[in-house]
Every structure is written in C-alpha cells, then in structure tokens.
Subunit: 261 residues, 3 copies
C-alpha cells in the first residue's frame, strides 16, 4: 500500500480531481489517495508551495506527493519527478517544489519525458490527468525512476518574501490566511524565539500592538487580537472567537513587525 | 477494516483535514476515512452536534466518529473518548457529543490524558492533528480504551432550543438549513404526529401558512412552500423548485408554529 | 475491488454525501468511492449529464457510476440501473444518463423496484441514501441485475442545445464554465476540424474575434482571449492568466460562432 497526496487549484465543482483519481486507480487499484487541498487560488504557485511545505512531512514514508498548479500547461515547462530520502514529488517545474526541497533534499531529480507514461492523446490543457496522474500511479507501484525520463540537476526556484532582521527589529509579512481568518506570517517560531530570547517585545500588525505570546486562542478576552506560534510552526496573529483577517482588515502581504523593548 | 468518520469546521482549503488523514493513515494504513462535513460554521458546536446526531447511526458498527469543532483548543477543556454499544466517539468535551449520547448511551467515557498518544510536540492550536487523530487511529486499531486515559462519569451538556407544547399549539424553530435552502425544524416527526393525530392543522412560518404535509418536493405547485418530514426525521419547510430560505427570508431561529384547527 | 463514482448536487456542507458513503461501505466494505462532483448546481440535470458524459470513460471497467440529481424524488419518476459494455449506471430516470448512453450503448436497462434493496423506512426526500446507494453497493458486490427490478427498454431523453451548421457558419453555445472561468462550448473538436478543414476561420464570442486555435493557455499575450480544444474535447474560449467568463461577461448559453473566411 502506498499513499498519493494531492494539492491542486482545480476546485471541487469540476471533474478534474475525480478524473485524476480515476486515472490513478485504473493503473494502481491499491493506492490510497489523500486530498490536501484543491482550493489553492487559481494558478497561485506560492500558495501551493506553502501548503506542500507545511504538509508533506506528516505523511508516511514513501508517499507520492502530487502537486498540480500549472499555469504553463502545454508550454515547454518541464515536468518533474523528485525523490528525497522519505518521499516522492511529482509536479510541473515552476517553483512549487522549491521551498519543500530546501527542507527535504532531493536525491534524484527526473525530467519526465517518457511518452509511455502519457495517456494518448495528451490534451493541451490537462497534464494533471494525462501525465502527472499516470506517473504518480506508476511511481507508487514501484517503477524505477529512470524509466520516466532523464536525470537532471536543477529545478526552478521560487521568489518568496524574505524576513528583514535588524538589531532590535524583525519584519515579516502575512503569507497565508486560513479558514478562520487566522493570519500566518513568514516568521517561523525558531527565528522568533532566537530573536526575542528572554527580552520584552512588541508585535505590530496594522494599527494594533500585541505584547506577549499566547498559548491558546482563548488566552485573551473575546475579540482581542493575539499572537501565537501556530500549527504550521509560524508566528500567527489570531482573534479569540473571531476572524483576525476581518477585524484587522489584513491581507497577504500585510507587514508584521517585532520590536525588542 | 474499520471506518473513521470526520466532522470538523476546518473547511476544505487549508491542509488541516489532509493532515488529520495523513496522521491516521501513518498509524493505521488499513482504516477507511469518510468525510461527513468539514464545512461546519467555524466554532459552531451546535451545528456539529446536529450533524453528528443525524449521521452516526448510518455507519457500520465499530465506526470511530471523530468530531473536531474545538474553540477551546489549548485550554484546560477535556478530551473525550466514548464507547457506546455500537460506536466510538472522539471529541473535545464541549457538548458536541451530548445530543448523540442521549440517543446512544455511553458505556465507557475516557478522559484522554496519556501522552503516548500525542504527537511530539503538541501544537497549541491543532489538537485535531496532534491528539484526536492519533487517538482515533489507535482506537480503530483496537487498543484497549483504558490505555488512553482515566474513566470519568460525565461530559459537558449542550443547551439546545426546546419545543414549547401547549394544548393546541406546538412551537419549534429552524435549527438547520441545508444546501437547497430547505428549513429543518426541531420538531421531530414522531412528536409532530403525536401532537396532530388525525386532526386538521396549520403550520405557520414567517408570514405563510401551510395546511397539510407533503410527500415529495413536487407535491405542490412550483415555488410554493410545503411541509414534509425530511430525511433527518424532522418537520421541514421547503419550496418546490427553489430555496425556502430565500423565499421566506427565514434563518436559524425562525419560529415554526403548528396549530390544531 | 470495484469502484463507485459519485456525481450529485448535494454540496459539501450537509451530511448527504457522507451518509451515502456510510450506507455503501456498510454493505460493501471493500469498494472504493471516488467523488467526481457534489457541486452540481442544485437540480441542474443538464450540468450533471455533461459532467458524467465527460468523465465516465476514464474509470476502470466495471465502475458503478452513481448520479443523484433528483428533483423528482418521492414522485413516480423511475429509478434506473443500466449496464453497458464497460460500466454500470445508477440514477433517477430524468435524462441525466441520456447523453452518456448515446456514447456508451445500454445492454440492459433495469427499473429498480425490488424493496429488498431499500432501507426501511424509505424517506420521502433522500432516495440517494435510501435506495440508490444501496443498489450501487450491491451492484458493485456482483448481485445479478435482474434481482433489482424489471427490464425495460427506454429511458428519458434530455433536450440539449444543438449545433447549427450552415455552409460557412457553425453556431454553438457555451454549455459549461469551469473553476478558472474557461468557457466550454458544445462544439466538439472533431466537428470543428471537419467544418474548418484547412481553411481560414474566425471565432466570434460576445464582442471579440479569435482567428486561430491555441495549443496552450500561454500561447497568447496575457489577458487575451484564445480558443483551444480542451480536455473535455470541446472548443473552449479561455484567457491567458485570467477568467474568460469575467473578461467577456459570458455565461452558459452565450453564442459561439465559427465562420469560414
């Protein structure tokens, strides 16, 4: 038994995801498929990259992670199959794997080229079904990686917003907003703790100031903003019993500033 | 083979549900997971309780029902594992199980405390992944219930809107609205029939009056409101070919009054 | 192992889909269930028919396709079980299977009447759970088709918008719009190619003119409309990096005209 996980921007109304599963299960009836998300914003490679990076390591060893956010479908963009110590990744070469492969080093990178692994005919607009699903199903079956194409050394990188760290000031930004309106910043918990150490600090977001970390969403009065290291491992701005996004009118890109007192 | 069913307010965009499944399948690769709903309104314990109560008994004996609507995550609220004659239930102790456990009596209630069943480290904000998913996976594997924590006798109750029954008047309210805009009341079919017996009656909802029960949605003219005992077993106000919610401008809490002629 | 695929208009918030799966797995624990879509527009038989017709043939031989868009639930409308060369289909007799059965001829049509295959009691409003799910589970288990009811010869047809083909003019219309705002017309690729052959042509949609076919969404400048044979096999109007639906203010029913130069 192997798992295949799915991250796509295909939504849930159209038949796109169902057809990917049909193609996979036709080839490999024993595989289990786990949906991570199909509601990535259309063509938003950075969002898919963040979701993958925050998810892949919870899966059993040997899981094939299939990521299809593919604005370049039908162009000359490469199609990647990557093996790391614990996982396989299948995706278009558009940067979507880059943040993950910084945490989980690639052992082998294959450019998928072998038309034996393509449905006939390959459509112009849906390589997710006609190529990536087929490849994932056979990888989960144990086909040797070299059969899918040729080894290459590189993959496309992804430009992500960087932290600015000065002596007494750490500036990040909101990079993801979840269903509850919680604002996830790009300041990871370890960087935050190393920066703050045991000193006093203030966190600035929009026109609000937060002066301590919380350890639950009910740790402050109702409808008050709070800061917490969240389940992604990042500094998150949240609201007890409400949406920090709505309350603060924050969005992706909104600045989060930490200052030492 | 065992089933685990899922009811959460995690939505479908974030990776929360996918990670719960990853954690479960890593521990227990043979289990099957069935989504009941992940679109419970954020932190709406009553809605989750209604969905569970209307769903659990359709599942095979031995199913583990995992319910995660958990505004108190990270606080001192208890974590419950309950065994009944036919099922297991895993949920935070916030009342979400109460209406179900009135129908399906608990045989054993365990307060989950054994850290061997926690991921390390446990996050502050996502016990669904770090505790409840782990526990559900091992319960489905057959671990002895006493290993998860200590036996307790009680669980938190839930305040639900009650029916008012007078001599010739039965007053309930809308407690759930489905995708089609059908208005589900808290008047169950048995109570309705016992109250009305073979007498004439009128049902009042907003400014409309309905004078009989229907036996299909097409039983009245198009765009007319009707009353029907629905698939939940409750008196429901619906509209042929449309949304009763929109047509009547009704919402949760809107009164439904039955009067004997 | 058999597959059951699901197409419904039940949405993802209510417990309807979860209960269908519970009923199926209680009867047939080994079957795998693949969701194609549960977001068919409420009671939109044509949309469900299009999704089924574009999906069924990607599934493994022997798959049971269960389609529940059932505005006539509880009325005298028939309940169908159809066997074709490669698949089984279970659905209300309201035309939803008709376009599919034109491509994949029925070998046996059964009107489901045997109450042994009904849950007791059958609700007035949810035959998906109480009848169709049960039947699908037993079909996937291999029960003889004649046990479910009596053989019949016909099924309800579905009135779909037809192409108008004149000497130099081919007129179709938009019949489906996907998550990305791509506009799928009812002009299939083969008809288009036979009509155009190697002549020059213009495609008219709303106030725009497109003069060639593209072979990827990035084949034209950003935010320009393009025409492409899509993964459904139809002529599709799309926009590079955006939604053709929003850009062109098009909707289902909008005309698409192909003229030979």
């Amino acid at each position: 038994m192997r798992l295949i996980s799915l991250i796509t921007d295909f939504g849930l109304k159209d038949n796109f995801v169902g057809l990917i599963k049909a193609v996979i299960l036709k080839i490999n009836p024993k595989v289990k498929i786990v949906d991570i998300s199909h509601l990535v914003k259309p063509q938003d490679i950075k969002e898919a990259a963040f979701i993958l990076k925050s998810s892949f390591y919870y899966f059993p060893k040997g899981t094939v992670h299939l990521v299809i956010v593919d604005p370049g479908v039908g162009t000359e963009r490469k199609k990647l199959l990557v093996k790391t110590k614990n996982y396989f990744f299948v995706a278009p070469d558009n940067g979507v794997l880059a943040p993950t492969l910084k945490k989980e080093k690639p052992i082998k990178i294959i450019q998928i080229t072998n038309p034996k692994y393509f449905l006939k005919p390959v459509s112009y607009t849906f390589h997710g079904r006609d190529i990536f699903a087929v490849v994932s199903a056979y990888v989960a079956k144990g086909d040797r990686l070299e059969r899918f194409g040729k080894r290459i050394d590189t993959y496309l990188n992804l430009d992500l917003p960087q932290l600015k760290i000065k002596k007494n000031e750490l500036i990040g930004q909101i990079i993801y907003i979840d269903r509850f309106g919680n604002l996830v910043s790009n300041i990871d918990g370890i960087t935050f703790n190393n920066f703050v150490k045991n000193k006093g600090f203030k966190i600035f977001i929009k026109d609000k100031v937060i002066e301590r970390l919380s350890y639950s969403y009910q740790d402050v009065a109702g409808f008050k903003p709070l800061a917490i290291i969240d389940s992604f491992g990042y500094l998150e701005i949240a609201l007890n019993s409400g949406s920090a996004k709505d309350y603060l009118k924050a969005k992706e890109g909104s600045l989060v500033k930490v200052m030492i007192n």
